[in-house]
Point group: C2
Chain length 205, copies 2
């Protein structure tokens, strides 16, 4: 960018640091913000500061929450014996959106990926096993991406949870193979929860 | 979005208010910011606050500036007798990027558009005429979009500036550099033939 304004340059650099935002788009967004009233800009930046300050990980299921225990874990009407294992918080949102799931969640915080140096110990797996035991969980529903890393992680969890002799299910392969949960339409995603299959069936394919 | 976190919801709403950013992208950006350190988030929001607080419109040419008079207008090595008229600040940046223009700018702040209720009095036209007179300007270069609104505005300015009996030019319309004739629309191609330039000029670039 030509040497015109260091303030615009700085703000553009910051916005362009967001994923999927190039410098031209960043500049467009900054110029859009400049046109807003000071109050609107403050509301914008304050909302981001607030989210950073107030959001924590739920100490039970590790999903993002306003409190030390999230709304889902706190809710007594939800099935405490059913835990849905997901990769990250966005998957929780995607599944909540379907309205088809009434259990609790467990956010792994990633998937096993030797290529990226992510091993099981980097994920929230020990707390999952601890929860399964402590809470007398009856079913663990694996809802991980239908990718190599997702399948690997599912299999790893299957082996870890099997000794508890509880039901281990997998969301139905209505989700396109190679697809990601976040971008699946809610009807398909909801169907895949209703049609969850015993993990053994996945193994036999 | 499910009722999970009001902080995330608020921040997502704010980010989704930016042009071209949908709710899914907004959520992705907010979650990205949550993962950053508090210092990084503060640097991000502060840069946006700074740009809003410190940026003003140059009192001469109306482009965005850190100061009451912009770097271009302040620069004594630039041709003070040549003014390039553009629609908005991004056009200034685009032209500066070419390194081919050494005069001053004048930012109209829009284009005449009866459909959108934009009349000449809504634009920075009186200050342009005042500058032309006061600064003894020798040439006004019209660099507006090649659209209906751009052409209308150019023609309006041409009629307003003509009485000063100075040179009024228009940026060349023609086949884009690297463009193929076959895929150029016929109006542009026709214009490029009418406005053909001596071949020596091409050679010297």
């Amino acid at each position: 960018m030509p040497n015109i304004s260091r303030w615009i340059e700085e703000a553009t650099d910051q916005v362009a640091g967001l994923p999927g935002i190039g410098r031209k788009t960043a500049l467009r967004l900054v110029l859009h913000l400049i046109k807003k009233s000071p109050e609107e800009v403050t509301r914008f930046t304050q909302s981001i500061q607030n989210v950073k300050e107030h959001i924590k990980a739920c100490q039970e299921c590790h999903q993002l929450s306003d409190d030390t225990v999230c709304e889902v874990c706190k809710n007594p009407t939800r099935n405490q014996q059913l835990i849905c294992v997901v990769q990250d918080f966005r998957d929780v949102l995607a599944i909540e959106q379907t309205g088809q799931f009434n259990g609790l969640y467990h956010v792994l915080g990633g998937l096993i990926s030797p290529m990226d140096g992510v091993s099981p110990s980097d994920l929230n797996i020990s707390t999952l096993l601890e929860r399964v035991e402590r809470k007398n969980v009856q079913e663990v529903l694996l809802a991980l991406n239908a990718t190599m890393e997702g399948e690997t992680t599912s299999f790893y969890l299957y082996r870890k949870i099997s000794p508890f002799q509880i039901k281990i299910s997998n969301i139905a392969r209505g989700v396109a193979v190679g697809g990601e949960l976040e971008y699946t339409d809610e009807v398909t995603l909801g169907r895949s929860i209703l049609n969850r299959t015993p993990y053994e069936m996945t193994l036999n394919r």
